[in-house]
Amino acid sequence: MKKLLSFKNIVISLLILLAIWQIIFSLSSFDSALFPSPLQAFQALIDMISSGVLISHIGSSMYRFAMGYVSAVVTAVLLGLILGRLPKVFQYINPAVQLLRPISPMAWMPFIVLWFGIGDIPAIVIIFIAAFFPVLLSTVSAVSGIDPIYLKVSKNFGIRQPHIIWKVIFPASFPQIANGIHLALGTAWVFLVAGEMVGAQSGLGYLVIDARNNLRSDILFADIIIIGLIGLILDTFLKVLEKQILKSWGGAD
């Protein structure tokens, strides 16, 4: 019932968005090459799907996203699990992290392109940078905030390194780590498009630039919708996964 309701909410919300778009289109005097109607964008979308162009762009984007995001999450969680247990060391690392964190990953783009050329790597690196810091910081804070009784109990029962990390520290800090992983997903997706707009010859971000260069606002809008849609799907997928893990671990609430 709850699922049905939320499905109804999604449909209505999207219909409202479409309606606003249509109204603005009807009222404005823009050339349709500059501002397409929903129908024109939909037509462009169908064309791109049937020609297979869209799926190949989605393919390149998803590949880069998976590479960058997964490697960022894995390294950040591993590093965070270790640094969270070494507060004295982290005191010396934290200032540097705080300095690097507010820098938009895009600021590194010129270097990245100079060092790695264009292709898959720049977008992967950008996504990595975008996802890495939030996951690292939430993992460190989760680990250092673990209820000390878990550590006391594991010590008493002779659970040693490295087992204590998998048996106790990771599951105990998982809810907060998952939160960071989730937040990073949205950020990383935003920067995928940005990264591909500069350093790639394929992908959803490249398609934005390509559509602009060819003055195809219908393709541009279709692309934008797909970017939003995939972001939404990824987010939902992660939410479900997170819930499943929490549930099999006894549930938070």
Binding site: I149, K152, N156, F157, G250
Partner: protein
């Protein structure tokens, strides 16, 4: 003597100032004894327990178990905490198996041992439940089963029933007493509840605060199963109660 605490003190550094949690404590405990540390909150019971269990060693004097100086917690002595210390992401069964995992025991054997102790504490129907799904009393039973599963020599308990309602608490007191007799464990049990101490202990160590010290050690003269309403039980309880109000400075071994 099995456990030997000699002239032990524990000081903490608090804002640059020394704070004495307990001072010049001496205590000998034999194997198989049920000892209650009894006293008002703040008198250093937990600190003393943690020192004997090895979580936070004494700053002066010595604590020896079986002739060996205690420096860190041992897998042979298990501590049970007031807030149970269960791992919420593990089922009851996996919690009970926790201490068996570092030992090189086959999975099937592990299950068998866990089953045995889960049954002993009456939770067989909840093997697959997570701690969150259980009441406080049931959770403390799980943590008792988890302690027993590793077949420890000593069980330390720090106000283990303090968070439970009176009826559940009495039920668990009955159970821990029969388990202690059946499994022949040495138990050191912290409480601030006089009745609980009289019901459980072979000897009661009475502690007073400022600074924490042992005021007296009372051997409980009740044998076998104790009736909470029997006149001899009430008599012992009243004697202990009187001891708290007495102004005795020296430490005396009392036989009532």
């Amino acid at each position: 003597m099995y456990i030997e605490v000699q002239n032990a003190s524990k000081t903490f550094l608090q804002n640059g100032k020394k704070f004495t949690a307990f001072n010049d404590v001496s205590l000998s405990i034999e194997k198989g004894e049920f000892i209650c540390l009894l006293g008002p909150s703040g008198c250093g019971k937990s600190t003393l327990l943690n020192a004997i269990a090895g979580f936070s060693p004494v700053t002066e004097g010595s604590v020896k178990i079986d002739g060996k100086e205690v420096k860190e917690p041992s897998v042979k002595n298990v501590t049970i905490f007031q807030n149970y210390g269960l791992l919420p992401w593990r089922t009851v069964q996996k919690n009970v198996e926790l201490g068996l995992e570092p030992k090189k025991i086959q999975k099937e054997e592990r299950h068998k041992i866990a089953d045995k102790y889960i049954e002993l504490v009456g939770l067989s129907a909840f093997k697959k439940s997570h701690p969150r799904q259980l009441s406080g009393g049931m959770q403390q039973r799980v943590s008792i089963a988890r302690a027993l599963a590793v077949d420890p020599d000593i069980i330390f308990m720090d106000e283990p029933f303090g968070a439970l309602d009176a009826i559940t608490r009495m039920k668990l007191q009955d159970d821990i007493l029969s388990i202690s007799k059946q499994e022949k464990k040495t138990i050191i049990f912290v409480t601030h509840d006089i009745e609980e101490a009289v019901f459980l202990a072979d000897r009661i160590v009475i502690m007073t605060p400022n600074p924490g010290k042992i005021k007296s050690i009372v051997t409980v003269p009740l044998k076998g199963h104790r009736e909470r309403t029997a006149s001899d039980f009430l008599q012992v309880r009243d004697k202990i109660f009187d001891l708290f109000n007495m102004k005795h400075e020296e430490q005396i071994e009392y036989i009532i």
